[in-house]
Symmetry: C2
Subunit: 338 residues, 2 copies
Amino acid sequence: MVPLPPTLSRFLSRYAMAVDAFISDHVRGMPEQLYAAGLHLIRAGGKRLRPAVVLLFARALGGVESEHRAVPLAAAVELFHNFTLIHDDIMDEDETRRGVPTTHVVYGRDMAILAGDLLHAEAFRAVYRGLEYGLEPEVVAKAAGVLAWAAKRVSEGQALDMAFEGRWDVTVKDYLDMIYLKTGALIEASAALGSLAAMGDEGYVEAARQYGRLVGVAFQIRDDYLGVYGDPAKTGKPVYSDLRRGKKTILVLHALQALPRERAERLRSILGNPAASEEELAEAAELIRESGAVEYAMGLAREMAENAQRLLDDLPVDDSTAAEALRELALFSVERER
Amino acid sequence: MVPLPPTLSRFLSRYAMAVDAFISDHVRGMPEQLYAAGLHLIRAGGKRLRPAVVLLFARALGGVESEHRAVPLAAAVELFHNFTLIHDDIMDEDETRRGVPTTHVVYGRDMAILAGDLLHAEAFRAVYRGLEYGLEPEVVAKAAGVLAWAAKRVSEGQALDMAFEGRWDVTVKDYLDMIYLKTGALIEASAALGSLAAMGDEGYVEAARQYGRLVGVAFQIRDDYLGVYGDPAKTGKPVYSDLRRGKKTILVLHALQALPRERAERLRSILGNPAASEEELAEAAELIRESGAVEYAMGLAREMAENAQRLLDDLPVDDSTAAEALRELALFSVERER
């Protein structure tokens, strides 16, 4: 079990409380069922890593006052993330997440679509509320632009991910571009929002964005690893569902290229076959491992995390503890088991 | 055939061009299918009444320069509206709109969910682009807040609308509250955005909001009327689908109260029965008419439209032609046949 790094860990629990408090204060209304559906996954847990990126950048670059001002932006990112989870689960027909039944399983498809739409709206409403937390109107306007930009990218990434399921000509580069859109862009936006709140100038926003981009892509590579080799008791998600659905993860793409022809054919025959047995899926996971794909993918992810760490060296850091937590977060994103 | 009022008509065609040009310039990206799905209904037509409310208020209160600055906000409202149409059509299982097959019929359910999410994001991105059109950061920040507020209200309205389908204890007041959320809030937001762009002070924004609220509710009452008595060749929507689904429109609610018991029972037995024949649905439409519900509902809608018109008298009008078009728009919203 990889423990949470010590400095990050202290921030994470405090930030989770602040963000959850903001969300329960602000995300209210009628009818009750709509709000219950919207908050279902948020209440089930989650690491709150994205809001932590917002708040750590705000604090690292601007100190505790910036950190406070950034709370609505951190909540916005978490709300937005949960909106995408609800809709993705409908599209992917996933039935379990964070160890609980997904929103559409509990509340039905239509209410889940609507609950996602509500959180999407609440995310922008949270940005707007930044005005009450002392963010300048210019920062709020830019923050809305950053979140909307990420929202556009995330839709594109999800559309590509779905399109890839039916294709066999996807390259590792296609995959990396796709996960950048689907996962990297929101973590990039989180970093940008945090440094905007610190009112760091555009140059620092750009370095923060680059950190977010690298950590985001590395995080998603680890996610794909955990989808095959993770422990469902820790991840809260069923194992092998990506393999059953024929998701073109970096592991699969590398294995199909690296394995001798016959074994690659065997792997291909199992992937995306909804009738594949548990034994066959375990065999596919074994074929992927023997291809060297795990070393390849995790090596790439670790390199990205290290590059992200190096980017922090050039930032004009105001709070070195927060910067240390960002260093830990980069590494944690590729070592985590949940 | 009720013709478009002359002054409004001149503005509408020019505004539709400006908004459509903004949308095709800004709503671009890959994969192609996602953007094609997102633009499907927008390309199929529509009256562009909501952006006209934005631009007419901007012009009426601030002249042609404000009108120009408000174009991104007008586009935002149209993008947002089309997002809600795409998702509503999935939930309501509607197959035709604006005379074409709905988005999920053409592109499949998952792509339609995503296309709606994309337009939701693009709406906020359009607001942000207001900065490039010369809107002050403070106006852009407030505009994002107004749109997010409306987005929250619209989700609530749609959730209530769905909940009402299974209930028989809905009152006319419940109905009016619901359509305010579902339709009125976005037209209210349109009016607020236009007057914000004109940088009218808060008092005028409030009067504009009230106009939007009244016109929005009146517009929806007319919509419910057209859903039963409209000509599908003009509305672009199939007739009677609200009756078949048992939607609790003001017509239905009034008829159930006003009809003698036996006839009310007969009406109730047809409503929400998916197996009801065309003859039975026509009979239901006739029962509603003989109850006096049409006079009641359209009388109420007309009263709201006239109250909305009166609100314009107190505004500090800069461009009286635009104010005249807003007067016409209020009345048109309750007289329109499409």
